[in-house]
Symmetry: C2
Subunit: 407 residues, 2 copies
């Protein structure tokens, strides 16, 4: 380890959080932007939920352990990470399903407007959900228009109901300018929906201040809620009582235990809840979120910028790696991506050497840096191993084929 | 315990399965039709999933532990419980969200027909989801028509796209005649959707033989998959490639890892999958389902009928309790419901005495009998305690207020 890495780690105000996670000894895990590591508190919460709440207290737990309130209690733990005051975030379903709710809600709030504008390189499931809405409602009621990041704003016009975009691009890690794009949408009378899956928990966000209308995100990346953790929905308070969404489930009913045969939407953001969520999954995420109550997100962002910069600097002497993430720290999320024609084989070779990165077609090496559990020494060691592999071209040897799959 | 109960228990071919569950000692749990008890195998599977798969193997588990296949592998474990050949059941989302997929699919398969016919006393969330579809598509494209159980069939006509019904009614436990109603729907060219939440796992089903088109159900009642366990979708093979559903999530894409910006539905029933499921919840359900591989559902149904009959017989001398479940065992699911004007207070008093039943507005006492872990001796003891409470009117005393909530 260099003295520089040692100094950076010694002065890292977040260093103590590493101990809050169960990570395999010796492994350098640079894929927390795909699946966050296991918080010890989540492990304990799952045991408690299964053995005591489900196993012992059984059906009573809906009340005695407040399972019934979980969409709200977990949502309220997420809210500060988004810069959202209370009463605007609920935890429910998957990001995909939540996108469907909000895309349809936007069309309802902007009658007469049919355009949904997004970026052609938006995360695929975001585009798919918009396509599903468009095909379901018909071209006379909804249309999806996609453009490059540069041209997207030019496509927002008086026929645009919704602009939807992922805040941090999953391939290159570029951070979109939330203030500017939100303002551009609003200037045309359109609503703005941000997918925060690749940013929440890794940087401060300011949905309320920027007047964002809608947001979604997943619980399993920087929030560390576990594989396939429930997702969340943000609906700005000013819109909540003006709109519903078509997935009229019992948990979003005004009086779910009246067992009325007619749907009546709950007050506020609860109407964006649909069916019964996995309680075990909710409790894991809930426990994972608790650590954020003592964390300063400005420090997280500061470390994220320094850590990714450090990793890039450690690879400055690798001419074959083409950095595709923005070189300016303020413009990238907590990830670093490179082009390399042998990207897939290199990620395999790195995994064999104890460094878990990620690969995305066609030739992208992607490294996520979770400031809560990744050290500067690890970033340096990962860079050195990557450099060694590139220099020795060991990635051309057959390696154990594990293809990382899920973003 | 009576000698009759002792004999019934001694000759119960399913008695050994009780030991597969973690149940609190001394508690008589008659609410498995709302939340199934904890299988020991599910507890172990959750620990394994959290500690080894998530904690240790991290992102690699999507492949090495086949997380990516879970919707299918869990679905295939459910299929035999439904009388479904392979390739027709996937596990995903909640029952509510799955209803939305299938209601919209039915309208797509029957262009020109707009009626969705159901029973006015169908489970509320089923009706709500249909109402959501109707309100979003507009009355010219979809309408919901509800009628009493008796009159429902008369409402099915040449304008009916879909008939949807819960197989076992959640209040009175009446089993609807799946063969007759499915045939009535088909005779009018309509599709048939069954909600099996209150029947799967407690009786044999025969979706393929009856030519049922669609089915949904939850994983947390007789399947014992844990609170809010993922739900499932059955789509008859003959329909799978003719239809999509509007929730175009990445997991239902033909090539999810190509990250194409255009949705293309996966082959077969996979196109009914949407976003990333909770892996922990899926693995709990998966482990819970394993016990069914050695279980004869005909024996389960036989015990269910005998057990509920035994409970009813033990209460024959309680004139104040009005049985609302069918008296003929073949006509009821694995539950027994009574009217009593003090139903809520009685269920509370029973809980204080160690018997967990359930209450439903306005005055229904509901007792579920899970044949895998409920004994005849327990049914007898529960009946005796209920009779004692009724005779002594102890339910009129203040009791600890725990209101059971979730069906």
């Amino acid at each position: 380890m260099s003295s520089q890495a040692a100094t950076l780690d010694a002065t890292d105000p977040l260093a103590a959080y590493r101990d809050a996670f169960d990570l395999p000894p010796g492994l350098i895990y640079l894929d927390g932007n795909s699946l966050g590591a296991l918080p010890k508190a989540a492990k304990d919460a799952v045991s408690q939920t299964v053995e005591m709440e489900w196993g012992h207290d059984l059906i009573k737990s809906w009340n005695s352990h407040e399972w019934i309130k979980l969409p709200e209690t977990v949502g309220e733990k997420i809210a500060p990470l988004l810069g959202a005051a209370a009463g605007q975030v609920i935890c429910a379903d998957s990001t995909s399903v939540n996108l469907f709710k909000l895309i349809t809600a936007a069309l309802q709030l902007r009658p007469g407007r049919i355009k949904i504008v997004s970026q052609v390189d938006n995360f695929p499931t975001d585009l798919y959900m918009a396509q599903g809405v468009v095909e379901w409602l018909g071209a006379d009621r909804a249309q999806l228009v996609t453009a490059s990041a540069e041209e997207m704003i030019d496509n927002i016009d008086g026929d645009t109901a919704l602009v939807m975009l992922t805040h941090v691009n999953y391939r290159d890690g570029k951070v979109h300018d939330m203030a500017r794009i939100t303002q551009a949408a609003h200037e045309q009378g359109a609503l703005m929906l941000w997918d925060l899956s690749h940013s929440a928990g890794s940087m401060p966000l300011a949905l309320d201040v920027l007047g964002v209308d809608f947001a979604v995100g997943c619980g399993y990346k920087y929030l560390n809620g576990g594989p396939g953790a429930p997702a969340y929905v943000y609906v700005n308070r000013r819109l909540q009582d003006k709109v519903t969404q078509p997935l009229y489930g019992w948990m979003g009913h005004a009086e779910p235990f009246r067992f009325s045969s007619t749907y009546e939407p709950a007050e506020g953001v609860w109407r964006f809840v649909t069916g019964t969520p996995s309680v075990i999954a909710m409790q894991a995420l809930s426990a994972a979120l608790d650590m954020f109550s003592t964390i300063d997100l400005a420090q997280v962002r500061q470390k994220s910028e320094t850590l990714t910069t450090w990793f890039i600097d450690c690879l400055a002497d690798c001419p074959d790696l083409e950095l595709i993430s923005p070189i300016r720290p303020a413009e990238r999320g907590s990830q670093v991506s490179f082009h390399h024609p042998q990207g897939y084989a290199i990620v395999q070779a790195l995994a064999a050497a104890g460094v878990i990165g990620d690969y995305r077609d066609p030739d992208i090496l992607r490294f996520g840096f979770s400031p809560l559990y990744t050290s500067y020494a690890e970033a340096e060691r990962a860079a050195r191993l990557l450099r060694d592999i590139l220099n020795a071209q060991t990635y051309l040897e057959p390696v154990f084929q594990v293809r990382q799959t899920v973003t």
